[in-house]
């Protein structure tokens, strides 16, 4: 039941230098992979590009062929009200449950803003958010 709300994010290790993001984006474009959401975390000389895409397996294999190190990471996606307090609602649920947010990024979906979360306990987070009346996305809801 909770498993359907787990979404596969691709995480790509990349050196922080000109042209690396272009190389990733070009590879995805050539294989007709659409990017729904995306973020970069960087530390001086290297970074991790994280993305939710429509075809994660294809994305992973084309990037690995180019020599990138790619991993799948389980994340969850929560619909937020696109108004003041929207982020607070979700963050409060997790904070009170003692669930740590490792990192998060957001995108503006078709119907609502969507918050992507990498948390310490994904199953527990899904249960708490659902119980509090929050709305989670399935992989098929992305776009």
């Amino acid at each position: 039941m909770q498993g359907e709300f787990i979404i596969k994010q691709i995480s790509v290790f990349s050196e922080n230098k000109p042209g690396r993001l272009a190389a990733i984006a070009e590879a995805l474009e050539k294989s007709s992979v659409n990017i729904f959401a995306f973020s970069i975390a960087e530390a001086n000389s290297f970074g991790v590009v994280r993305a939710l895409v429509d075809k994660p397996d294809i994305a992973r294999s084309v990037l690995e062929k180019l020599g990138f190190a790619v991993q799948f990471t389980d994340v969850i996606a929560v619909r937020m009200k696109d108004e003041p307090g929207g982020l607070y609602e979700t963050a409060k649920i997790l904070g009170e449950a003692g669930i740590n947010i490792e990192y998060a990024y957001a995108y503006s979906g078709k119907e609502a803003a969507v918050l992507i979360l990498r948390v310490s306990q994904a199953g527990e987070a899904i249960a708490r958010i659902s119980a509090a009346g929050g709305s989670l996305l399935r992989e098929s809801d992305l776009g």
Binding site: Q9, S11, F13, S14, E15, A41, E42, A43, N44, S45, F46, G47, V48, R50, G67, F68, A69, Q71, T73, E102, Y103, R118
Partner: protein
């Protein structure tokens, strides 16, 4: 058999010193009388053979350098006439013009004796099948080990280098118990066997490896034992002193230098001053009985230290530690000597890294800055930036402890750093002095 020649190998230290003094004195008189080259060099240094009154006086003698052989190419400093020579070997010349070494029959006999003692000390002998996978030909490794192995009554399988699959088949079919090769070839052979579905440990009789001619490390020794079940012994030599000559014994605590064959010293590479046993520095070797091309205080350029205590195996001859690097590879970073080999050793011990690395040195203002680029293995990568920063910090910490100088570390994408076949060039020094 524990010793090939127990009378010599277990000779009391004072007797050995007397023997060495006698051999040195004879050598110096001969060189002063018959070698135009060394006669001039001694005159320039203001030393006469009569000044050598004790073994310690060896420090008065002038050095010989690789460039002496190159400048006198091919054979102008040989001390034997051509009809006394029975063989030539020629070094590859990776660091310049090739150098030629000539051998009389006695030179070959001593070289073979040296290796017979070395191989015996590794526990090899009659009944062993020794696969010699060093190159045969101008390089000294193949023929040197070949005759050494025959001398101790082992059976030689002279495969030389290359054609790895056939080497593995022959190793299985002829039940090779030992192999002599470079460390990188041994690892390559192990990987090739794995691809063929053959386990060196379970499907062959291989139990020992005599490896050298390239730098390697304790970490590699452990890896070789864990993956192949093979005990690896370090062998040492260079063509100018004959070829591979000396090795570890079964104690694996340093390389025995047979005192009747060679006299090792360790000096400060900058001042040329002799250092005490135990102090690290540049190895200088005097080959005491060589006829065709005697080498006196030859500056090999390898870094090590001398271990003077009698070995647990009972052999009294001095030992040298595993070579830790080359004098000419040494970097001076903010006044501290840094050897790329030490960086390699530290990096091989970190499981998150692939073992490939590059060193870049720059000068920022008036300060040297050393950057080490390392590759993280895919399994250690993480989507969390903190995990990656922690790996970077760990590598910085390990390197700082190993080198005594702060270095910055950058993580590179797996597979992105250059791979080297043959001599690795891992240092880019952009400093302008």
């Amino acid at each position: 058999m524990r010793c090939w020649d127990p009378r010599i190998e277990e000779m009391p230290k004072d007797e050995l010193s007397k023997l060495q003094y006698r051999l040195l004195k004879t050598l110096i008189y001969r060189m002063y009388s018959f070698s135009d080259f060394y006669h001039v060099r001694m005159k320039e240094a203001g030393v006469h053979p009569d000044d050598i009154r004790t073994l310690a006086d060896i420090r008065l003698l002038p050095f010989m350098y690789k460039s002496d052989l190159r400048d006198n190419y091919p054979d102008r400093i040989f001390c034997a006439s051509r009809d006394e020579l029975v063989r030539y070997h020629v070094s590859s010349g990776t660091t310049g013009k090739p150098t030629v070494v000539g051998y009389t029959q006695k030179d070959l006999d001593l070289w073979t004796t040296s290796l017979a003692r070395a191989l015996t000390s590794c526990g090899l002998g009659r009944g062993d099948v020794i696969q010699v996978s060093y190159g045969y030909g101008l390089f000294t490794g193949g023929l040197g080990l070949h005759y050494g192995a025959e001398r101790i009554g082992a059976t030689v399988l002279p495969t030389s280098v290359g054609n790895t699959e056939r080497q593995i088949e022959l190793m299985q079919d002829l039940k090779a118990t030992a192999i002599a090769c470079t460390p990188s070839y041994l690892i390559h052979l192990g990987e090739a066997a794995e691809r063929m579905g053959i386990s060196i440990q379970k499907d062959t009789h291989l139990r020992s490896a005599i490896i050298g001619a390239e730098p390697w490390s304790e970490t590699m020794r452990t890896r070789i034992y864990e993956t192949m079940g093979v005990r690896a012994y370090d062998i040492y030599g260079t063509s100018e002193i004959s070829g591979p000559m000396f090795s570890e014994c079964s104690e694996q605590k340093g390389i025995h230098i047979w005192g009747d064959i060679a006299y090792p010293e360790v000096i400060d590479p900058k001042t040329g001053e002799q250092l005490e046993a135990g102090e690290p520095g540049e190895l200088v070797m005097t080959v005491l009985q060589k006829e065709a091309l005697p080498m006196i205080r030859y500056r090999i350029g390898d870094l090590t230290r001398i271990i003077d205590e009698t070995c647990a195996c009972g052999r009294t001859h001095p030992r040298i530690e595993r070579i830790s690097g080359r004098v000419d590879d040494m970097l001076i970073i903010r006044g501290i000597n840094v050897f790329p080999s030490a960086v390699e050793h530290a990096i091989l011990g970190i499981s998150e890294l692939s073992g490939h690395f590059m060193i870049e040195v720059d000068r920022k203002g008036s300060l040297d800055a050393m950057l080490v680029r390392v590759e993280v293995v895919p399994e250690a990568l993480s989507d969390k930036i903190n995990d990656l920063i922690n790996i970077k910090r760990k590598v910085e910490h390990v390197l700082k402890n190993a080198l005594n100088v702060a270095v910055s570390v950058e993580l590179s994408e797996p597979g992105s750093l250059p791979r080297f076949e043959g001599k690795a060039k891992r240092v880019i020094d952009r400093r302008v002095f």
